[in-house]
């Protein structure tokens, strides 16, 4: 699925440069799960942006299904995102003025799905994360865990190949965190997704079949025997 070699990312901040990624080599196979951890400022979110076609690296190759994302135009990257990649964010990032169902529908808008289909698929996706009763609730009318479930439904409604999550449980209490993790792991298993998860949570990291650690832009990967 992914083949990264020599990926660097340098941010310019006035006169100073920040090397967020310094030569990342990484291979991720179809249907793999990769957990990324590391100290704050280590470059985890930056790497996730590269994998999610949100940004282009300063140098290096990011091969995704045979195409180099580093060489694609903004418009092509947009297309890759809309078709293949589902995102889950730490702070849920729901549109505050849209209800649960409409929020999920936003993921189908760029694919040109007809409104009636869109509504049906959004409702089904919410059903699958246990929110079948909450279609017309606004984000502000939902608990944190429920909001993250809406975000998960939104990420998965278009049936992407890859699911990227940046600290999805960072804003949740412990019980809810376990629920969400269980949900995500279940979905990963059932749907054959490639699942890349950034987390600070050491219990999650310990369970991970494959753990990458990012420190000051450098990556080390620990393979563990699959359970």
């Amino acid at each position: 699925m992914y083949q990264l070699s020599g990926v660097t990312k340098r941010y310019r901040r006035g006169k100073t440069n920040v090397d967020a990624l310094r030569g990342i080599d990484l291979t991720i196979a179809d249907g793999d799960q990769l957990v990324i951890q590391g100290p704050t400022g280590g470059g985890k979110s930056t790497l996730l942006q590269m994998l999610g076609a949100l940004d282009r690296p300063t140098s290096g190759v990011i091969e995704f299904d045979g195409t180099d994302l580093a060489k694609l135009s903004e418009a092509r990257l947009t297309k890759v995102r809309s078709e293949n990649i589902g995102f889950i964010f730490q702070s849920f990032n729901l549109i505050p003025t849209l209800n649960a169902q409409e929020n999920v529908e936003t993921a189908l808008v760029p694919m040109g799905v007809r409104p009636a289909d869109r509504r049906a698929r959004a409702a089904a996706a919410l059903e699958s994360v246990g929110l079948g009763e909450r279609l017309t609730h606004l984000p502000s009318e939902l608990s944190g865990g429920q909001q993250q479930r809406v975000a998960i439904a939104r990420a998965l409604v278009k049936e992407p190949k890859v699911l990227l999550a940046d600290e999805p449980t960072g804003n949740l209490d412990e019980g809810t965190r376990d629920d969400i993790m269980a949900l995500l792991e279940g979905l990963w298993r059932d749907r054959g997704l490639t699942f890349i998860l950034v987390t600070h949570d050491s219990t999650i990291a310990k369970r991970a079949p494959r753990l990458a650690t990012l420190r000051k832009g450098t990556l080390t990967v620990r393979e563990s025997s699959r359970t």
Binding site: T78, R81, S82, N93, I95, A107
Partner: protein, 491 residues
């Protein structure tokens, strides 16, 4: 999704939308009020000008009266029988008033010109009637005593100047009034069009040689004239067939009669003093003016614009206030409103960086996000437009309700008998030339603020423009957001 999203945003962020809309509403409301007030000013000026010109006239052609010294043509001379001492005598002196005459062929010359829709001639006359007795040997006829003697420098336009000349045992009543010779073959233009026939009837084309008159209502009242009354001028009897009431309360002449009759009375066959010209296209007025000046040398061509520049008084003050201060104020407020709307929209986008970043991360094209922002701004603009139209209508309504009275003073040059402008007032040689010219007219006009469809269209245009400007600010901002902004932690 576009409309759902738009509706949801506007409903759930009502306050922000309202602030933008209110800013625009203020600007647009001001524009509507100022626009309608200044068109009210135009109407008021139009009323004033119409009272001078009559309807449908774009310009007049006249020839200035000669300066004093060559004024012998207009200087009156009376021949009294000096032998019939003690008997009452009367004499009418009919003079061309205020202008030098033009040949009536000028009318057809002008009429044939390009872009001229019509031309009609008219003749302004003044009649000076002297009644009196004198005793032989005591009357000394001197020019100084007759021109400088008992005549007031100028009378009110509708009051007839009366004077008494006493000299050497002679006693005279002088009585002057104005006549206007109407081209009865074309009644669509000329001073009579600004009057309504309130009794009897007006002239018809068949009246060309008839001894008939139409009397101005004010003069008729003063002299107890009615339809059917007889007026004698220079021994000729005229029958009053109609009473005309001037729209502005200020008539162009005391008595109107067919042009031929006026020419005969003043022994100026085929002469006129004024040509009333209508241009076929109001855009061509100045072209027509210079063409006439070129074709007929020595004439004065006065357009409505020329006349308007002689209007002074509170009307012109208010009018220039509305057109200058009001215009600039509303433009300034409008620009400020547009800028504020733009900045508010743009700052609203910055507060929604993560929202739009997320949509881009989900695969929304930049254009779709921009469109969404533009759509919101446009709707805000339209709401602002609707509120602004309401505000503006309220403002215009208030002005019309209060209807402040403005007075218009017309420069002395514009107050001659026929009402047309012309520099004739400068040098009155005898009393015929200057009698009415020294007086300046004052008209009172109530101001209204009519709101035209054009103004509303303008307001809607401004609303759309304001929304578009705001949307451009916001949309530009939104288009520059990176999808990676979705991951930004701080709002």
């Amino acid at each position: 999704m576009f409309f759902t999203y738009l509706r949801r945003e506007l409903r759930r962020r009502r306050k922000a939308a309202l602030v933008v809309a209110l800013g625009l509403a203020l600007g647009i409301g001001l524009v509507i009020t100022v626009d309608s007030v200044s068109s009210g000013m135009d109407q008021a000026q139009g009323k004033v000008l119409k009272s001078l010109y009559g309807l449908g006239t774009d310009m007049t052609v006249t020839k200035a009266a000669p300066a004093s010294g060559t004024g012998s043509t207009t200087r009156p001379k009376f021949d009294f029988d000096a032998n019939s001492s003690g008997t009452s005598q009367s004499s009418d002196r009919v003079m061309v008033q205020g202008f030098q005459t033009l040949s009536s062929s000028v009318v057809s010359t002008v009429g044939k010109q390009k872009d001229v829709a019509g031309a009609v001639g008219g003749l302004n006359l003044q009649v000076l009637k002297i009644n009196g007795t004198f005793t032989q040997g005591q009357f000394q006829q001197r020019q100084g005593s007759s021109s400088g003697g008992g005549f007031p420098g100028g009378g009110g336009s509708s009051s007839t100047p009366q004077g008494e000349v006493k000299g050497g045992g002679a006693q005279f009543d002088a009585n002057s009034y104005t006549l206007y010779g109407v081209d009865v073959s074309d009644l669509s233009m000329g001073p009579l069009t600004s009057s309504k026939i309130t009794s009897g009837s007006t002239f018809t084309a068949a009246d060309a040689n008839a001894k008939v008159m139409v009397a101005d209502s004010a003069y008729a009242k003063q002299n107890k004239l009615k339809v059917g009354s007889t007026v004698t001028v220079k021994g000729t009897k005229y029958k009053v067939i109609g009473i005309a009431t001037a729209d502005s309360g200020d008539a162009a002449a005391n008595l109107y009669l067919p042009l031929k009759q006026a020419q005969t009375l003043s022994s100026s066959a085929s002469k006129i003093t004024t040509v009333y010209v209508k241009a076929s296209d109001s855009q061509q007025i100045s072209t027509v003016k210079s063409e006439i000046q070129h074709n007929i040398s020595g004439t004065t061509v006065t357009t409505s614009a020329d006349l308007a520049s002689t209007v002074s008084g509170s009307l012109s003050t208010a009018s220039s206030l509305a057109t200058n201060v009001g215009k600039w104020l509303s433009i300034a407020v409008l620009i400020a409103a547009f800028l504020v709307a733009g900045l508010l929209t743009s700052s609203a986008v910055s507060r929604r960086v993560r929202e739009f970043g997320t949509l881009k991360a989900l695969g929304w094209k930049s254009g779709r996000v921009t469109r969404q922002v533009m759509g919101e701004a446009l709707v805000n603009g339209l709401i602002g437009g609707a509120l602004g139209i309401a505000l503006g209508l309220a403002g215009a309504f208030a002005v019309t309700e209060i209807s402040p009275t403005l007075s218009a003073q017309l420069g002395s040059s514009a107050s001659t008998g026929g009402g047309q402008g012309g520099p004739g007032g400068g040098a009155p040689g005898g009393f015929g030339g200057g009698a009415r010219q020294a007086a300046s007219k004052t008209l009172d006009v109530a101001l209204s603020a009519p709101v035209s469809v054009g103004t509303i269209v303008l307001a809607v245009g401004l609303a759309l423009g304001g929304g578009l400007i705001a949307g451009t600010f916001g949309g530009w901002r939104a288009s520059r957001l990176r999808p990676a902004d979705a991951l930004r932690r701080v709002e």
